[in-house]
Symmetry: C2
DNA sequence: CGCAAACTTGATGTTGCTCAAGCTAGGTGG
DNA sequence: CCACCTAGCTTGAGCAACATCAAGTTTGCG
């Protein structure tokens, strides 16, 4: 096998490290490698549109996607942000019921649906793994419903910051690659409220905003309590 | 095989008609029959509590369950109502992250998790079927996020009534077996707002409230438009 | 019949939205 | 290299939708 120098952003993919391959044997991994291809998206570019026929499943390799639904008058609800390791396209048989587009430049690994389905049937443990993935998503969705339906603006922002921190495996600093408007549409708020709430948290010394798109969690404990809804009236 | 007269609520189960058996062969159905048992719950009785270790998967045969999460100060978000044909327990490996209890008297079919897992591995198509079930749930969850984050009280109620009608396969009349408080906690509202909004819809002739727990959809078209968010300012 | 739980209705309050203005950062072209 | 332009962000003032608090009414049940 040749180890060759490749383009800037596309070093030879380590297939065994892919999320879809976790727990698969060598042979299955080589199947995945054989059927997959790489795709790139520029910021704002769409991967799926609501109503699209879908023929692929994607795994995010780098960057961030947002997945959202719209109401006719333009109200938008972002139902999730997807970053490296997340799968897109499992939930929709036939048609996609939401829009997925790129927040930042994104690299994806594409798996044709037909081949993917074959893996489900033939590779032991694969279906179980996918089931676990969708179960995780379902659990996240339930947390998000609790957030949307019952948390205050401050609690929503705290929960969001902690979620991003966890995802970035960072205890201190969070990189927000999306806009305030994206955050607002994810949390069921307006940009103004997001902005005001961040300012408020900052003035309380709970967080710091050292640079655009960057948040420091200076008082993590306070954030955790806020996110858990344990500080009923901590104005 | 003996066909025997059984207790009032427990006629011999038609296993082939169970949701878990859809698409399974005769042999697989007999496996299901062999491992399953029936369980009953009285209103208010819990099936799972948040944090429980879980060893079973259940299918609802009759009645209605609610599934919810709580914040420390008692705020509650109901993430779903389950009625006949729904499965409970797929999403949680090991531990349950929400509470499930009975709204009405409930009959369930219980499947031990270990046996269930064996089916997943051995019965072709079974895993795929479960994947389809969780995908449906995921889609419903996304709709609910849109509702919770971006719809008005009136739109929420309209969506809810239509959802219940669809579920009951009824075009005209909906039976609401849960309380106003349950509805409120499902839609991210208060009981008062639910009550007021129903009254408002009634006074507009969109619905009628002929009896406790019963709603007639007198102007279905209006409801559909409301639910879709097409009537921005139709006060 | 009487009680408790559920529901409705009214009066008032508050959170977060709307509308509006000014600020900041980063990219572009002169 | 700088000035401009724009998209994104912040801040303020006023407002509206929904929550809260508080009676009263209905219903089902013991």
């Amino acid at each position: 096998m040749h180890v060759q120098a490749t383009m800037n952003v596309a070093p030879r993919l380590d297939y065994a490290a892919l999320a879809v391959c976790r727990g698969l044997g060598r042979e299955a991994v080589s199947h995945v490698a054989a059927m997959s291809s790489v795709r790139r998206l520029a910021p704002g570019e769409a991967l799926f549109n609501e109503g699209d026929r879908t023929e692929s499943i994607y795994e995010v390799l780098s960057g961030m996607l947002r997945i959202y639904k719209l109401l006719p008058d333009g109200r938008r609800q972002i139902t999730g942000f997807l970053s490296a390791g997340h799968l897109v396209g499992l939930a929709h048989r036939n048609h996609c019921l939401y829009t997925v587009d790129a927040v930042t430049p994104v690299t994806l690994c594409r798996y044709p649906l037909a081949h993917f389905d074959r893996l489900v049937d033939q590779v032991p443990g694969f279906a179980r793994r996918l089931l676990a993935v969708t179960s995780d998503e379902l659990r996240a969705a339930q947390d998000q419903m609790l957030l949307l339906g019952r948390k205050t603006a401050e609690e929503k922002i705290a929960s969001f910051l902690l979620m991003m921190a966890k995802r970035q495996k960072s205890d201190e600093t969070v990189q927000l690659s999306m806009t305030r408007s994206d955050i607002a549409d994810y949390l069921g708020l307006t940009t103004e409220t997001v902005s005001r709430t961040l300012t408020k948290l900052k003035s309380h010394g709970t967080i710091a905003l050292p640079a655009y798109g960057r948040v420091e969690l200076t008082d993590r404990e306070q954030l955790e309590e806020l996110a858990a809804g344990e500080l009923a009236a901590a104005a």
